[in-house]
Amino acid sequence: MTSERKHSFELGRLLTLLMDGNINAVQLSKLRSLLAEDPVNRQYYVEFMVVCANLRRYMAGSVEQATSPQLLASANVETPEGSRRYPIHPDEDVDAEKAKLAEPLLLKLDSCSSEDRPRIIREYAEQQLEQFLAQQREQERQSLERRYRQRSIDFKAVAEKLHRFTHIAKRVAIALVICSVLTFGIVIAIAHVRAQRAVIATVVDSVHAQWTPQLQQMELRRGRIHLTEGFAQVNFVSGSEVILQAPCEFELVSQNNIHLENGTITARVPKQAFGFTVVTPTSHIVDFGTEFGVMVGTANESEVHVFQGQVQMMCPASPSGASRHSAGRTKNLTRGQAAKATTVGEIHLVNVSDHPGLFVRELPDRNRRTGIPGRILDLADIVGGGNGFGTGKIDQGIDPSTGFLIPVPSVGRYGQTTGQYMPLPAFPFIDGVFAPDGSEGQVIISSTGLVFDRCPDTTGQYWLGIHNGAKMKTGDGDTFQGQLDGKVYGTMGYPAINMHANAGITFDLNGIRSAMPAVQLVRFTSLCGVSQITWIPEAAKADFWILVDGVVRAHFYDMTHSSKTARLNIDLHEEDRFLTLITTDDGVSNGWVWSLFAEPTIELKLKIE
């Protein structure tokens, strides 16, 4: 390093501390001396500060936000629609040119209708382009003429003889200039196309993935992509790995930037790719080398969960100019934290432990038959604390009288109804649970107070709880795996909800819609029956009830282990909000009614815009 560079570097170090508000008294005194002793240092200081000011302007466009709205208001000038300043694009022209060019356009726009505005703006842009090209042509012409005149003076003596040749030379010169302009244009165009066509990321794996438009190759370039079904893992050139869960619409912007319009993704970012940014309609999520999930649901609200490391969530400054700084509200989140950015630019912390299974962190088994994003939602997985696509735990469940999360115990035991409905606000897709008994009075089956008025009198007892799986435990600790039609259930491939009578669970269909705004819920399908096990000592009976918004849509009664398995196929409509599954006993005996909803799913269909 030369002494001049060393000198400027030291000055730059002190200025960096100064501008970060972190300079101490000794450093400040040193900086003062450096500036006082040498005008070269003062010149460097000034240029350094202007670089800082321009960086802020160039990268954040904050000065406009700090002045224009207030000033426009005080000057009593209407702020034109869409006049919000965004970060300045590298290709943006200088302000003076913009102001000059915009003047006649503003006058025209004042006197036209809103329908005509796009046309006028387009015509104006074309006109400006034409003018610019005409100016360029005129400049070229004048330049050539000047050069020709100079040349003609130099060769005055032989001008006549060379007249013919100079005429040709002029033409050749013009051709050369045109060629060089064209070449320059082509080089620029090629560079632009190259930037557009550079591979940003690669699809390295997928499970049941369907894309719109259909992917022709696994290398992804800049542009919008829609994963309509399934999962896919996309590895960015920067080293970041992203798991996409359908339906998911996004735009790949660069090797370190993705715009997520809706859907759910999980990103694993190595240290060297820090700064990886997920832009959502309401926030920017900047990574510092970590693993995190982002979900954009209805109303464009976005939620981030941090699994490892640290991220920064930022709501961009509001267009009203309320924030005087480039960054709007910002929150740093560390491992185990989650937050939601609202459409009004607020960030709220969310309790991540309430719904830990919201994001898929590994691609699921490609042989699974249910829980396929964009196609089939697995309700058993939701009971196990998952998102309906394989993040739930087998043999995890909920106690219907307390609402507590419980695993299948090592020894089976009874529970007794409290006659209360237990809302589960922490579960985004489950409204609540209960243990039904008509003799206890009204049986509430939703957080909105819907009543199951046909509920029979039951023993009021239940066994184990409501679980994702089919594991059955006797009071002696013996374990059996539930079966229907000779098929063993309660596995990832063949999921089931195990709800020994008397138990009820209500799913929140609107909660599901909120998390997946791009799909519609088409129908509920399932098998149901009492598990077939040969050693059952008595023919216990159970009723199966399926209600939508409190209305009984299916009822199978007096089912025993020898009854035929029932098949459910219930259409759902856009206005349906609650789906309730209930099992009840005959009010006499609660023994051995191992009731299963096997392969309980909601069929999904992509909404057509």
Partner: protein
């Protein structure tokens, strides 16, 4: 107000406002860079810019037409900066009075080339490594302090200041080189 100006229906007022906003839009970055250079503090510069703009607007109708809007604006900004230093006291001030005048003259000249400097800066930025560009984004686009960035990346704070100083130094010298007359340097 002269009687032959049709201010009654507000038409002329609106035109004056438009003219002012246009001039301000053209010059505000220059003014901001000038103020920041004199106060070396982001928040203070924001406040002084705001105050300057308000004074400019209140005086504009009486002063127009203004030959050199940029110079007029920096003069108002300079007075605002003097007011700020008068209130702040000398304790933490970086410049003496004479030095402030010198810096002001240099800042006016340098900020007067703001468009050329932004243009040059764009090209200099493109030459930085991806890593350095990302650090600048964290600093300026997302508004983090350098200390925050160091903590979030788990890097030593001292080292991050050195890195940032290096990046700013490279950019400052690069912009200077690009604006220098041919053959200089």
């Amino acid at each position: 107000m002269s009687t032959n100006e049709p201010n009654v229906d507000g038409f002329s007022d609106m035109n004056v406002s438009r003219e002012f906003v246009r001039l301000l839009t053209t010059n505000q970055h220059r003014i901001y860079a000038y103020i920041l250079t004199l106060v070396s503090d982001w928040d203070v510069a924001d406040d002084i810019l705001q105050d300057t703009c308000e004074v400019m607007w209140s005086k504009y109708t009486q002063t127009r037409p203004i030959k050199n809007f940029g110079s007029w604006a920096t003069q108002i900004a300079y007075n605002k900066v003097l007011n700020y230093y008068a209130k702040k006291g000398r304790e933490h001030v970086l410049f003496s009075s004479s030095m402030l005048e010198d810096i002001s003259a240099r800042a006016e000249e340098v900020s007067g080339q703001i468009s050329e400097r932004v243009h040059a800066l764009r090209r200099c930025l493109a030459k930085l490594s991806e890593h350095d560009q990302r650090l600048l984004r964290l600093r300026y686009e997302y508004g983090n302090t350098i200390k925050d960035i160091a903590q979030q990346l788990g890097r030593p704070i001292h080292g991050m200041y050195k890195t940032m100083a290096r990046i700013h130094d490279v950019l400052t010298r690069c912009v200077r080189r690009r604006l220098a007359p041919e053959g200089w340097l």
